[in-house]
Symmetry: C2
Subunit: 411 residues, 2 copies
């Protein structure tokens, strides 16, 4: 366990530069029972900032697995929404939402995939009213990492079990620049730089991006109404917040019909406990038409079989390397971190705000030229060996990244 002091500084940073909790605003915290020390630090920090109330929604991952394995077949498709509705009421009452991402990446290994799929769908139906509100930024919210023993053992399998949690905490703290002389100032500078980058890209109005690197020759058409987004969002309650800590990306919506070429993943990918390595995808007319992998290909195929739009792209994100996440040199087995290590693509659903939409029902997404699949699967394609160009409507190419770095970046 990190010292109380470091945990408290992490909590303070999260509430101030991430969630931007307002005086008099209620707060709902959620996380696994293993993360109680951080949840307590967050509660203390929130009350110091004048939180009207702090309510904590604790869960136990092991109970989730028992539920999946033991519930009778007849009840598999029913998930009560009592506690989801509590979260919905909290959002509607203006409560900020802070969710810890602290899961064991291998928790569901070995669970019958057919039962898993049915249960996950039922759970998603129950959670939809909550996720829609958060997705539409009805209130300020934050996803924040917390090291738990099972997650840490998965990330550092070669270390002695009692060393791993401490190591993962150190990695997490490094990704949020907690050891900078003034972490809050460091974050404000970093966020301003990402916002400036997104603004520049929005002015450029590229028609496509070109990726070139080892095993990669890819052209990603951008949606005509694409908007580049960065770290910062503004909630419907008027609060500006940074929904992910860490965040290193600027991202937008590809055109799901205009992606051509071959792309090779630069990092392994964890899909529900299956590690996918050496993924290589060929696109034609926007669709993934050929898939190869050294390991775990069936897990990718299962995701892409979900619906007709799943084998098409919904997000393209540019991430400069190196950066504090990339520098850890380690797969976190957790999207919050891994997607901020390097430039990435996502199969499936687009973010409504990358198409200029406030909310994202399927009709609105499709009408705006975005992907309305029900899945969203990020995978990393950037590295210090990959170059990126922006392509204008007239075919002219502008270099954006050389060897992983922004061409005009000073650092």
């Amino acid at each position: 366990m990190p010292s109380d002091d470091r945990l408290q500084r992490y909590a303070d940073l999260a509430l101030r530069v991430g969630l931007n909790l307002q005086e008099g605003q209620p707060l709902v915290l959620s996380g696994s029972a293993e993360s109680r020390p951080l949840l307590r630090a967050l509660a203390r920090s929130a009350y110091r900032l004048g939180a009207r109330a702090v309510v904590v929604d604790l869960h136990d991952p092991a109970l989730g697995r028992i539920d999946l394995e033991d519930v009778w077949e007849a009840y598999l498709d029913e998930v009560p929404d009592w506690f989801v509705q509590a979260r919905v009421r909290a959002v509607d009452a203006g409560a900020a939402q802070l969710s810890l991402t602290d899961a064991d990446p291998f928790l569901l290994r070995g669970v019958d995939p057919a039962r898993l799929a049915r249960r996950m769908q039922a759970a998603a139906r129950a959670r939809r009213p909550y996720l829609e509100r958060v997705g539409a930024h009805k209130v300020n919210w934050l996803a924040l990492g917390a090291a738990t023993p099972a997650w840490a053992r998965a990330v550092f399998p070669e270390l002695a079990p009692d060393e791993t949690t401490e190591r993962l905490w150190e990695a997490i703290f490094a990704t949020v620049r907690l050891d900078a002389p003034d972490p809050e100032a460091a974050w404000r500078d970093h966020v301003a730089a990402l916002e400036a980058r997104a603004a520049t890209l929005n002015r450029a109005r590229f028609a496509a991006l070109i990726f070139e690197g080892p095993g990669t020759e890819l052209r990603v058409g951008l949606a005509q109404r694409h908007v580049w987004k960065s770290a910062v969002a503004e909630a419907q309650n008027g609060v500006r917040f940074v929904p992910n800590l860490p965040t290193e990306e600027v991202f937008t919506a590809p055109d799901p019909e205009r992606v051509e070429g071959v792309v090779t993943s630069t990092r392994p990918l964890n899909i529900g406990g299956t590690l996918v390595e050496g993924l290589r995808v060929t696109f034609a007319g926007g669709r993934a038409v050929e898939l190869e992998a050294a390991q775990g290909l069936e897990a990718v195929r299962a995701v892409l079989a979900t619906d007709a739009a799943a084998p098409r792209l919904g997000e393209v994100a540019l991430v400069e390397t190196p950066n504090p996440v990339f520098d850890r040199g380690r797969l976190f087995l957790n999207t919050l971190y891994d997607e901020n290590a390097a430039s990435h693509l996502a199969f499936g659903r687009a973010y409504p705000d990358t198409l200029g939409l406030a909310e994202g029902d399927d009709t609105a997404l499709t009408a705006a030229g975005g992907n309305a699949s029900t899945v969203h699967l990020d995978w990393m394609i950037g590295s210090p060996e990959v170059d990126v160009w922006g392509e204008r409507a007239d075919g002219a190419r502008v270099p954006l990244m050389k060897r992983g770095r922004w061409v005009d970046a000073a650092r």
Copy 2:
């Protein structure tokens, strides 16, 4: 930690002879995060019995204390009811309710009593819709003990900390006869004996009870419409259940105006972290007019100052000694156990069903001759040195207990 097997047998016993969970019935479990091993065993057991869903409401006592200490004065009287409403919805959907009693008896030691009182009142207001439903037996419910490290250290302060939790588990298992050759059969016999005892007392229709022992000469008038209750209840959903494990008592409603004499407590009493020892109370006209104690008297005075009916009785319970709770020879610092160790009285509110009422609003309670205070404070007055008589309306006395034992009891 007890073995998985013993924990599973405890869980099975709780769901079968305590809660009587029905096939196809949803279940809400609640308890502290420390009690996850038992909660997991209960979930497994519930799914084996065909639970439609098992939803777990976890809490962290340390977060509760942070809330009490750190919330700003301006917000002290507001407690959001989002998650209470989730429990209400679950009850209204027919879900059985199982709450673990696993608290650290000294958790709130040192908290500013004025803040504590205001916060507790606000929390009680938020919880009222839930507690009313459970109190009216809208569904089958159960209060069940679980040993946690902080509670165990408080019970066994003389032992090494790493031995205490195991010792408390053993004590808990003994109180529910888990090591009987057939614990379920032992419980069914025990419950039938308590029911028979209540039936006999209901036929007798005593006007008063007389207690005599060291420092005790007390006459407790019974409410004219008093009903003796025992372990078993029938919920509005038609399910018969035993709401407390363990349970050793038969209990009824005294007449709050007709209690006379002196009574000396036979066991210490824990009031929010203050231990009350050697409590001695003189009653006149039903009211406690004189209080003495070797220690902790101010905590009793604070409870009795809550409202005008608090210094009058609301419950009298007869418990044979010895019994498996009494036999532990140890104060559990937890009412579920301590009130089942010996005969006891309670200052404050009466249970509606001991006055033949289904629900208990203040008007109905008062009209039926019961105590409608907002507090309920149990304290032990029985022991193997105390005798009890029933007194008929004509003044004739019938011996009920000699030296702590039912006079007609064979064992």
